[in-house]
């Protein structure tokens, strides 16, 4: 019978302000999820061990935690798989990241729910209620199928690198829901949503670390949703409102005029007001040859690119 050591993050604010680690040994069968292991530890060895869970079947999203540093749903992670990956070592169990722990593996989810609510995660039609239900085609639902799978487990939020650097960033899960409604043909707030999501700490804060896509246990791909919200912002004529959008615009200008990125254009186009005050840094970059010619860098057959930029239609 396999035996596993669990090295668990403990935080019991009633008795101490300091977090600590505790090791537990457990004998178990071949098939045991991490959640089952934690619950057995709680039932058989230590009733003070706190964990949040509900459905045990990867639907409620309550039991997300870190196993060997990687955010997972405890209920859909096999202990034997973790040991196969870590070379049969002790399994480290921690609360999800980017949250304050309340007790052991239980964290304060309040900031997550506040941000979730801030994206207005519900349909807001712009017409009176119909007499019959609104029929939506399969194709139209397909566009938002991925995002509609989100169970709000916060695995994405737990490892978001932008959030780690800026706690105010709205975050991947909320924007997956934002896209799910912005792109729903029954919704009447597409433009308003694009505006709401494009502000400070909004979609343009995403640093594209891709952890959200990597960790999501449901295949939601939140980064892709954020990307598509950027596309909607451009479609709604809001691309130039934020420095992030202007940064993207600089790529489009570079493509049209030369085909390759004109790096020297990026700074003044992205930050037209701030750029002049960053002169000492700019001079250093010039001195090191890191500010290439601001003239377009022309590729061969640029005419093809120009035609494509006119003819390709966006379909978000």
């Amino acid at each position: 019978m396999p035996q596993t050591t669990f090295d668990v993050f403990r935080y019991q604010p009633d008795t101490s302000d300091e977090a600590y680690r505790q090791k537990y040994e457990l004998e178990h069968g071949e098939d045991m999820t991490l959640l089952d292991a934690i619950l057995r530890l709680q039932n058989e060895q230590d009733g003070t061990l706190a964990v949040r869970y509900s459905c045990r079947s990867a639907i409620c999203g309550s039991c997300a935690c870190k196993a060997d540093g990687k955010t997972v749903l405890a209920c859909m992670t096999q202990v034997e798989d973790l040991k196969a990956q870590n070379g049969d070592q002790a399994v480290r169990v921690d609360p999800i990241g980017n949250f304050k722990p309340i007790k052991d593996l239980v964290v304060d989810m309040e900031p997550f729910w506040t941000k979730f609510k801030s994206v207005k995660p519900y349909l807001i039609p712009d017409s009176d209620p119909p007499e019959k239900e609104r029929i939506v085609s399969k194709e139209a639902m397909q566009k938002i199928y991925n995002e509609s799978k989100c169970i709000l487990c916060a695995a994405c939020y737990s490892e978001c690198n932008s959030l780690a650097a800026d706690a105010e960033f709205v975050g991947p899960a909320a924007f997956a829901w934002g896209f799910r409604f912005a792109a729903d043909e029954r919704d009447g707030q597409r433009s308003q949503r694009a505006k709401l999501y494009s502000g400070e700490h909004g979609i343009w804060d995403c640093t594209r670390c891709m952890y959200c896509n990597e960790r999501c246990p449901k295949g939601v791909d939140p980064r892709d949703a954020i990307e598509k919200l950027g596309g909607i912002a451009f479609q709604e004529g809001l691309g130039m409102r934020d420095a992030g959008g202007r940064h993207a615009k600089a790529f489009l200008v570079s493509l049209r005029t030369g085909g390759k990125l004109n790096e020297t254009l990026l700074v003044p186009l992205t930050q037209p007001l701030k750029a002049p005050f960053d002169l000492p840094f700019a001079l250093k970059m010039i001195q090191k040859g890191k500010a290439p010619s601001p003239l377009p860098h022309k590729i061969r057959r640029l005419d093809e690119v120009k035609k494509l930029m006119k003819s390709v239609k966006e379909t978000i």
Binding site: N161, T207, D221, I226, G230, G259, G289, H297, L308, V312
Partner: protein, 294 residues
């Protein structure tokens, strides 16, 4: 016979980080590869074009793939972001014939060659960090890194999403470590080697980005690294060119020289320093050259 690749250095290596391009080209014969130019290739869009105009991003990247197909070779990149953008487009059209057909229709209308979906995209690191690549290095009789302590820095987009990249475990990457050890260096290990450098938002959200680069820079410093090495010129800009800014924002000192992957290979293989153009770096690499004896 040297293996031929369609060489896609990406815009940053061609312009602001020319030292990466010149080193890669000088290294190619030593690595038994022939890098063929792609004079009609555009920028991959770096995630920015995908964010503004997703269909345009896809079409332009398929146009690049088609050019490699016309040349009869696979693409080699030296940039994480180019690798992800090209591989993602390749995966999307290879898995969806109807999408490929729609993209090809656009390409043909614009006078460009349609894509048949026959090409692959690889990164220099993936080529050289295999058993075959390592034995290739060994055959060159490297003069070695003389125990240089190198902090491997992967960044994000060469590892994630693994469904698109797939070369190695994104949570326990080992390719850079294998190379460092094979070349006679020591690995300065640290947790944040695959965290984000912040580059994509460096201009739009400078403070957030500099707090991101701080995590890897400070950990590499604390691991006693003589330098950091990265396979991505965008990570290099964030870690090297913006390092002094990161020091200011975070109130710390890193003094961390940052090498492009081909520069590390070049040092170990005895490539001329002038080709590797270290003077273009913001953080001086003198201490590195001293250890290696270059």
């Amino acid at each position: 016979m040297a293996r031929k690749f369609a060489y896609y250095p990406g815009c940053v290596a061609e312009f602001s980080s020319k030292e990466l391009n010149s080193t890669t080209k000088a290294l190619a014969p030593l690595l038994d590869i022939d890098l063929l130019p792609m004079p009609a290739a555009t920028c991959c869009g770096a995630g920015d074009v995908a964010e503004a105009k997703p269909n345009l991003y896809l079409t332009l990247n398929v146009r690049i793939l088609s050019q490699a197909e016309e040349m009869g070779v696979d693409i080699m990149t030296i940039c994480n972001v180019c690798t992800l953008n090209l591989r993602r487009a390749n995966k999307l059209v290879k898995e969806d014939p109807r999408l490929l057909e729609a993209v090809n229709e656009e390409l043909v209308k614009a006078g460009a060659r349609p894509y048949e979906g026959t090409r692959e995209v690889t990164h220099l690191l993936w080529y050289i960090a295999t058993e075959e690549g390592l034995s290739l290095l060994e055959r060159q009789g490297p003069k070695g890194l003389n125990g240089l302590r190198v902090a491997p820095y992967y960044g994000c987009q060469l590892l994630r999403p693994s469904s698109v990249m797939g070369f190695e475990d994104p949570d326990q990457p080992q390719s850079l470590e294998r190379l460092i050890v094979a070349l006679g260096g020591e690995v300065a290990d640290y947790e944040a080697k695959s965290k984000c450098c912040g580059f994509p938002i460096l201009l739009a959200r400078e403070t957030t980005a500099l707090k991101e680069s701080h995590v890897a820079l400070s950990q590499a410093r604390d691991a006693g690294a003589d330098c950091m090495v990265t396979p991505c010129p965008l990570c290099h800009l964030a870690m090297d060119a913006y390092q002094r800014k990161a020091e200011k924002v975070n109130g710390e000192t890193y003094n961390m020289p940052v090498l492009h992957l081909p520069q590390l290979l070049g040092l170990a293989l005895g490539l001329d320093n002038s080709v590797m153009d270290f003077k273009r770096h913001m953080v001086p690499v003198d201490q590195v050259l001293e250890v290696v004896g270059a």
